[in-house]
Amino acid sequence: MRVMLGIAAALVAGFAVSNGPAWAADEIKIGEINSYSRLPAFTHPYRKGWQLALEEINAKGGVDGKKLVVISKDDAGKPAEAVTAANELVESDGVVMLMGTFFSHIGLAVSDYAKQKKIFFLAAEPLTDALVWAEGHRYTFRLRPSNTMQASMLAEEAAKLPAKRWAAVAPNYEYGQSAVAAFKQAIAKKRPDIEWVSEQWPPLGKIDAGAIVQALAAAKPEAILNVTFGPDLVKFVREGTTRGLFKDRSVVSFLTGEPEYLDPLKGEAPVGWIVTGYPWYAIETADHDAFLKAYQAKFNDYPRLGSVVGYVTMHAAAAILEKAKSTDTDKLIAAARGLKLDTPFGPIVFREVDHQSTLGAYVGKVAVKDGKGIMVDIKYRDGADYLPSDEEVKKLRPQE
Amino acid sequence: MTALLEVESIAKSYGGVAAVRGVSFTVDAGEIVALIGPNGAGKSTCFNMIMGQVSTDDGTIRILGHTTNGMPPRAVWRLGVGRTFQITATFPSMTVAENVQVALLSHQGLLSTFYRYAGSIARDEAERLLDLLGLKAQASRACGELAYGDLKRLELAVALANDPKLLLLDEPTAGMAPRERAALMRLTTQIARDKNIGVFFTEHDMDVVFEHADRVMVLDRGFLIASGSPQEVRADPKVRATYLGEGFDDGAGAGGGGNEAHRS
């Protein structure tokens, strides 16, 4: 007992000593959190993205003459760890703002922490609508197009299909559930004649693909909405292809066109699926070209969607600091509201009403070329066109 | 006055094989009764049925007038029955004294107390019991360190903790040296006589049985084949037949050894 308390005291002392932040006046520190160890396939390209942007920013003299420094933390895929990391960044490292996160629930945990601690949080990747609407508040901004935005983009394409009988398959958690709900709502506005004949909810990461495919086929849908991704998607695509589920059926699928999800499928990518994603090989704008060249030069690798998100998040953070001319949280919020920014996808703006950026996504069809899945017939969908009006948002979002 | 223990034609079979068939007997207060029989005769089953570890297929068991069929062992214990096991069952993580204290606490209904330090409750009583059995010097030792003979004595001390009216001793001296056996049984007999406790025991050592039992019963393949004073049983031809070839004769000392070896 004596010894154990000795150890406790030593550990506590160790933390106490390491506590004092080293602070240099010519630096601005930004805290960054993401699920690096849990989801390396997504977060490592993201990290490369913000690292590239950081290099660019500091090469141009930083922000307001001060060097921008990012302190990056892993959250191990757990919201509680993310809050600990956020706390360390804010309390111990003295960062002026937080950015990052991938999982929706982790984004929400950090966002809630930001609200409590009154610190600026720029969420990069979480998709949940709750982040800016139901649980939205003045301290949190979000870059990536939300669940509802992606659902609306896909529903627009889906409405053009003749199919009336629809089935859905989605991972059984909040993301899957709200994606399906948003899609249903969006498509119902354009096509009231659509009926939903089957829904399958496999647990995330544990899809029993054969049984699911059979169950879907039994309902004889004319089109299928897919929200599964990652290892589940691979299993679903393989079983569905072998069992002929996708033959003569349209499939509309969330995120499948993102290289993170499409590339592992290689030559087995499901041809003809209507997807949202990031066709880096087919975007022909000057901004994207510059980004692509710089990225490939620095990392000798092609960018994933995460790379773009990381890159834009970092630039957005710098732009906010630049515009605020201060590191004061209230000034940062004021600067971020309505902030305009050029990105590899085109100009975006952080909406004043809900702090959502208007970054869009590419919609297209999956094809296979040289044994690799690609997107063809791509169209960029500007996020601004898929966001609800200010009046609607005011109903969705708690007012300050 | 009713008998302390009344067993009426109890029976038990395992998967069609009858272990005990219609056995009846009684044990009175202050009486010391031995149950003997060759291996597999059903002695342990009898014991376990009386204590409630094993259910009876048929028959009744009454202890102090209460029918105990179907009662769990802990309820039988509450009626005032203490028992020891063929293979000692003690609490190795506790000291010798604590082993007895737990039994005393249970007897006093204190085991649902959540805050007092148990090590100091009923310590004196525990030491008195340990003293009685010659274990006082070992009181603070870990029970797991005791020699086997001492464990047997500790079990007896634990069995005495609830002021039992009836003691069930399953081979109380097994594994002890002959001299120790005699000493332990003398002690047991003396305690039983002093406190007017009925003792029902089974034993392989015929020396022990014939020297200490008031009455001996012989079980063979589930049947009670003889019952009476040690002299009567020793002279019984059926008993002699059962033990034929196992050195069951008047030189019982060697017989005990023979049985012991046979048991393996």
Binding site: I7, A80, E91, N172, K235 | L111, G257, E260
Partner: protein, 674 residues
């Protein structure tokens, strides 16, 4: 009708792949009694190696060769693991092997990413089995048919191996009575190694055979391990046909269950397990286990409450800890608060594990219920912190009241697995019931009232609660109730024979432990400001388990040290490196091998060693180390057998007594000589 036939076939294919993964686990447990947590990692390794090898070798021969070589390579790796790691820890209580293999799993998770990269890897389809065949007008993948055949073939092969070879007969004998096999002069060491190799080979094969259906990814180990454990337990530990039967039942129930309730998959295996264990406590085809080799926590060094000098030392430490806010910053205080919360959580598990001998794999359920209790009271009922904070422990108590009633009826691994099943069921309710719990998006905005808000005040609140909690649990350990709990753990037979009602005592302990865990969970909710289904999930249960084992399972409050060390290390590692799992895993494996008695256990062993030369004069039989505790579990049995075999010639005098005590304690005699 056609549809149902095909759906049934699909279920069979899933059953086969589940069985392939589970059979090895069952065999390994049956013989070596090792709960091999790394089984999923071996499965994953099989898949990754198969991806690499099928990429190198083409054609049907290349493909099947690659599958086989991958499985063999995993088996070789398994043998190395067995020789280097497990052989050193066979003699320690079963849980340490679980802990050691858990550490190995953590290491492998990071190693796989380092070697194969973070992205999912897709392998080729099986040559010749790419397509589908028409059955009753429905397409069934040829590979599914292959799997449907594969499962029974492996089952039959294992049956032949176990019934028609000398090796198999020995393995079966060892499954039933290990001591007997040792007595036959069989080299148990190599028997265990070969069994482990076979089990790991099957794991590797199971993983490799998934390749044509699945991708190789670094999370497949965790997604399979719990499921195969459940299947093995449903079937009955050590029973290979049982595992097959269980796999079929689970897979078919899932295949047809989703037609009625599409969301059932997430919880079906746990529902099946809970139902089976409640009705058949030893699984479908399992046999009733004898008493466990050693009840966890059983020590032969009786516990003592702290003596006055120790009390003073502890009080000094506590005063020091209470003064932390005067010299630590907010972050350090928050970390210290989190550590204190886990101290309470781990200590509550220690009451169950060490004092009660009840190993729970689902203790996070009560921690999480505590968190949800306050979150729901605070957010849904809009209660202020003062009454809301009590909702946590209350909800946890309620959960423990219900689940405890069922679980204490079971023993050993089955008890552990039923606690896990209930925890998973609670988790899936929190995860799915979006309207009430917010699903995985959780409940936000659970911040403490301003009176105890802020790092310093909340630290003090937590300090008071955690210290009081640990003291309560210690008092309980030494109270008459604590003795009753230990009595039941040490010897059920004896406890029952002195009037102790095992179920009532263990159920009470379960509820007490649950309530304290719930208290910790309630504080955790206020510390983090939000509550997620995570808090109910397996990683938190495992954390608590690791903390107790790390501190020392035979100690009263080792969990306190275990929690401080483990949590501090984990927080620090996550903050400093992305390879926290690799390092944490290595630390755990190291500790298991070097100090299986845990940190506190190791220190008290040292303390006993130092006192030993003095004690030896007075008491020549005093044990010198903890190695004799390791022999202890079989002692009763050994001695019983020993006595039965020992001829006791009449008139041998006191020599018999000495012989007896020797038989009784062989390790003691050898250990007494330095």
């Amino acid at each position: 009708m056609e549809f149902f036939v095909v759906q049934f076939l699909t279920g069979l294919a899933s059953a086969s792949s589940l069985f392939l993964a589970a059979s090895g686990l069952s065999i390994i447990f049956g013989v070596t009694r090792i709960l091999n947590f790394a089984h999923g990692a071996f499965y994953m390794l099989g898949a990754y190696l198969a991806v690499t090898l099928t990429g190198q070798w083409s054609g049907p021969l290349g493909f099947w060769g690659a599958i086989l070589v991958a499985a063999l390579a995993v088996a070789v790796f398994g043998v190395i693991t067995e020789i280097l790691l497990l052989r050193r820890i066979y003699h320690v209580p079963e849980l340490f092997q679980l802990l050691g293999t858990f550490g190995l799993t953590l290491i492998l998770q990071d190693v796989v990413v380092l070697i194969w990269g973070p992205e999912d890897l897709i392998g080729p389809r099986a040559p010749g089995l790419e397509g589908a065949v028409e059955i009753l007008g429905q397409s069934v993948p040829t590979y599914d048919l292959f799997l449907i055949v594969c499962g029974p073939v492996v089952l039959a092969a294992l049956w032949l191996l176990f019934h028609r070879t000398r090796w198999g007969v020995l393995v079966r004998a060892a499954t039933q009575d290990r001591d007997m096999v040792a007595a036959l002069g069989v080299n148990q060491k190599w028997l265990f190694t070969s069994v482990f190799a076979l089990g790991v080979f099957l794991a590797g094969l199971g993983g490799a055979l998934q390749l044509p259906r699945d991708s190789a990814n670094h999370m497949m180990d965790l997604s399979i391990i719990v499921e195969v454990f459940v299947v093995v337990v449903i079937g009955g530990l050590g029973s290979v046909p049982g595992a097959f039967l269980a796999a079929v039942i689970v897979s078919e129930l899932n295949a047809f269950g989703i037609l009625v309730l599409p969301k059932i998959s997430i919880v079906i295996v746990f529902l099946v397990m809970a139902a089976v264990l409640v009705v058949r406590p030893w699984g479908l085809l399992g046999r009733q286990e004898g008493a466990p080799r050693q009840a966890p926590g059983a020590t032969i060094h009786p516990w003592r409450p702290l003596r006055p000098p120790q009390q003073i030392a502890v009080a000094g430490m506590l005063v020091l800890a209470a003064c932390l806010p005067f010299f630590a910053g907010n972050y350090a205080l928050n970390v210290a608060t989190e550590i204190l919360i886990f101290v309470l959580f781990a200590q509550s598990l220690q009451l169950m594990m060490t004092v009660g001998g009840l190993v729970s794999f689902g203790h996070a359920a009560y921690f999480g219920l505590g968190a949800y209790g306050v979150a729901l009271a605070a957010r849904s009922l809009d209660l202020p912190m003062m009454p809301a904070v009590f909702a946590g422990p209350l909800l946890a108590l309620l959960g423990a009241f219900v689940f405890g009633w069922f679980t204490v009826r079971l023993v050993g691994v089955y008890f552990a697995m039923l606690t896990l099943a209930f925890a998973q069921i609670v988790w899936s309710i929190a995860f799915q019931w979006v309207e009430v719990t917010g699903g995985d998006n959780g409940i936000l905005g659970v911040w403490p009232a301003s009176a105890v808000g802020g790092a310093t005040r909340f630290y003090w609140l937590t300090f008071v609660v955690a210290v009081a909690g640990v003291i309560c649990l210690r008092i309980l350990t030494f109270s008459p109730f604590g003795y009753a709990l230990r009595a039941v753990r040490d010897s059920q037979l004896r406890a029952e024979a002195i009037g102790i009602d095992r179920l009532r005592v263990q159920w009470t302990a379960f509820m007490i432990a649950g309530t304290f865990a719930g208290t910790a969970g309630a504080l955790f909710a206020y510390l983090k400001g939000s509550v997620f289904p995570d808090y109910l999930a397996i990683p938190y249960s495992v954390d608590a388990l690791v903390m107790v084992l790390l501190g020392g399972i035979e100690t009263v409050s080792g969990a306190v040290v275990g929690a401080v060390v483990y949590k501090a290390l984990a927080i620090w590692l996550v903050s400093q490196t992305e390879f926290s799992k690799l390092i944490l895993g290595a630390v755990i494996v190291g500790l298991v091998v070097l100090a299986p008695e845990g940190i506190v256990g190791y220190l008290s062993k040292l303390a006993r060693r130092i006192k030993w030369p003095l004690a030896s004069k007075r008491d020549p039989e005093r044990p010198a180390g903890s190695s004799e505790k390791i022999m202890r579990p079989d002692k009763e049995k050994e001695s019983a057998v020993g006595f039965a075999l020992k001829p006791s010639p009449a008139g041998a005098g006191s020599g018999g007594v000495e012989a007896g005590s020797q038989e009784n304690s062989p390790p003691r005699m050898t250990k007494a000589e330095p």
